[in-house]
């Protein structure tokens, strides 16, 4: 980053001013769409409001109302369940895909393109599509497939214990390919001489994976893990469309709660209060992420 400082500062007159002028339109957009809404969330969360007009300052009342609402505990608990399942399913699958594809030589570009394909399908279309797959009864796609191998049909999303894992599977289907490509870039970047040296020292395939491939994957995995947890906090339309949070709040996500407060009940201050709390958690996670990535550079 610093080597660019070579440009002599005097050569462009009013360089700083012009530089800021060029960035200004974009900065205004960032302010309006990203930064100001964050501040506005905090302000909104401290007031009562009629529609979008704020009325009286009420301090942390909105926060207390959110925290005391029975749905909050469900959503919070679900967030951890989502994180847990996305670690079990969503975290491992891209690594496995990447490990397998880098061991191929034939058709590799087909594999790359193939596993990435779900990523370009619109998210809303993805969840509606998986809705058809998870349909209970004899016409659900998965039930048809199961009946072919003689297994009885399931009720899928209507089974409270299965709801979140199934939603995570649908999400993983969509996102695993793009994450796998990042891992593949990492694995391909390993110096092949390392493997050769290890082989000369008598290391078998298993040992080479254990001592050469996996360590380099783990460095990447740490940062991608935090990004994935951040992504889990944003889960919204998957439960909204697939289950509407049900059965019995079994899959309601914390962002969905924000959505319900704001756009179903029109209680914007409560929605803002919950947003602020999510934001604080995310800022902490982002801080951890920055710590991890900057350490890597040293």
């Amino acid at each position: 980053m610093n080597e660019k400082k070579k440009i002599p500062k005097t050569s462009w007159k009013k360089k700083d001013f012009l530089g800021w002028m060029i960035m200004l339109p974009s900065i205004i957009l960032f302010a309006f769409f990203v930064w100001e809404p964050l501040i506005e969330s905090v302000r909104l969360s401290l007031y009562t409001a009629k529609g979008i007009q704020t009325e009286d300052f009420v301090g942390f009342d909105n926060y207390l109302r959110v925290l005391r609402h029975p749905d909050f505990l469900d959503a919070l608990k679900n967030t951890f369940v989502y994180i847990g399942w996305s670690l079990v399913i969503g975290f491992a699958v891209p690594i496995i895909i990447a490990l397998l594809i880098t061991e191929t030589i034939h058709l590799r570009s087909l594999f790359r393109v193939g596993v990435y394909f779900p990523n370009i399908i619109p998210g809303l279309a993805t969840v509606m599509m998986w809705g058809f797959f998870f349909r209970p009864g004899k016409t659900g796609v998965l039930n048809i497939l199961l009946s072919k191998i003689g297994i009885e049909g399931q009720v899928w999303l209507n089974n409270a214990a299965l709801t979140i894992p199934l939603i995570v599977i649908a999400m993983t289907w969509k996102s695993a390919g793009s994450t796998a490509l990042i891992y593949m870039a990492g694995i391909s970047g390993i110096n092949p001489e390392l493997y050769e040296a290890a082989t000369i020292d008598g290391a078998g395939i298993r040992q080479r994976i254990r001592y050469i491939t996996l360590p380099s994957v783990i460095a990447l995995a740490k940062t991608l893990l935090i990004l994935q947890i951040i992504a889990v906090f944003q889960i919204l339309y998957e439960p909204l469309v697939m289950t509407n949070g049900g059965p019995n709040n079994a899959s309601i996500s914390i962002m969905q709660l924000v959505y319900n407060y704001a756009f179903r009940d029109y209680k914007y201050p409560m929605a803002a209060a919950l947003s602020v709390m999510i934001c604080i958690v995310l800022i902490i996670l982002s801080g951890i992420y920055f710590k991890l990535t900057t350490k890597k550079e040293d």
């Binding site: 974009s26 769409f33 061991e103 599509m129 391909s188």
Partner: protein
């Protein structure tokens, strides 16, 4: 023949010299089959949507088969007309076009400032942009929606377009690219007395075609798929995009096959785009990976 190709293999754990052993040879074939299986899983659901869309409602509700009994493109045309899907396509195309233009111009200019002009204090902006990269837009969507209403921009495409001009991810990608440009060129232009806008126009822009292409493709798929903000801003305005229409099925009494065909319609443009630009897109995917 099959294993001869492994000579060219440059990465991965299994090397050519491992192939003396029969076990490893079997393993290689097994891996190949597994990879094929993964591709099938990745592609099958989308293919199924198109195939099942050929079924009529009775067949869809009753029959326990994956494939339809007959293929007739007429059913697609009928649903297309019944739902008035042309309107949603047009609205989506308007949205996408504006979003792509904003994404390239505004994020590009900001990155130009951050990477090359580097005016005093630019680091503050860069820090703010980095943070916004990690705080997802969905958490502030309530406040943003309230703000959009206050400035009277609801029921208009404008906030959707401009929102793509403030994308931290695109800024970082542009910035990384600009920083890799040869500085000598810029120095030379500067010595020739080019103003900073002319440098941008005549040197940076022509050199930046690859990154602009990647950002454009990303912005097209992202704005086509974007749904929460378009739904909040456009719902009930007659300017609904394809995704807003899809979401409306949640509360409508459309039949299963109509929903299925609408899902198919929504997947066609990104699929075509992907087939044309598959190489660029898969390369861009790793380029966008955070390099720390």
């Amino acid at each position: 023949m099959f294993f001869e190709k492994f000579r060219k293999k440059k990465d991965g754990t299994i090397r050519f010299y491992d192939l003396h052993s029969k076990k490893i040879k079997v393993l290689c074939i097994l891996i190949l089959l597994l990879c094929l299986f993964m591709v099938v899983i990745s592609v099958f659901p989308a293919v199924w949507v198109f195939l099942a869309s050929f079924k009529d409602l009775k067949e869809f509700r009753k029959s326990e088969t994956i494939l339809p009994s007959h293929y007739d493109l007429g059913v697609f045309a009928k649903t297309w007309a019944d739902l008035g899907f042309l309107k949603y396509y047009v609205n989506s195309f308007i949205t996408v076009a504006g979003c792509v233009i904003c994404a390239v111009i505004f994020n590009g200019l900001l990155a130009y400032g951050l990477a090359i002009l580097r005016p005093k204090g630019h680091k503050i902006i860069f820090g703010l942009v980095m943070w916004s990269l990690l705080i997802p837009a969905t958490t502030s969507v309530v406040a943003l929606f309230v703000n959009i209403n206050r400035v009277g921009l609801n029921q208009s495409f404008i906030p959707l377009w401009l929102a793509f001009g403030a994308n931290a991810f695109y800024v970082i990608m542009f910035k990384q690219f600009f920083e890799s440009l040869p500085m000598e060129l810029l120095e030379a232009a500067k010595l020739d007395g080019c103003g900073i806008l002319r440098v941008f126009q005549q040197i940076i822009l022509p050199l930046s075609k690859p990154i602009i292409a990647v950002i454009m493709i990303f912005a097209i798929t992202a704005s086509w798929s974007d749904f929460l903000l378009p739904y909040l801003v456009l719902d009930g305005s007659g300017k609904e995009t394809v995704m807003v229409r899809l979401f409306a099925f949640r509360t409508s009494n459309a039949t299963d096959v109509e929903v299925l065909r609408a899902v198919a319609f929504s997947m066609i443009p990104p699929t075509i785009l992907f087939i044309i630009f598959q190489k660029k897109i898969t390369e861009g995917a790793t380029m966008g990976a955070l390099k720390g």
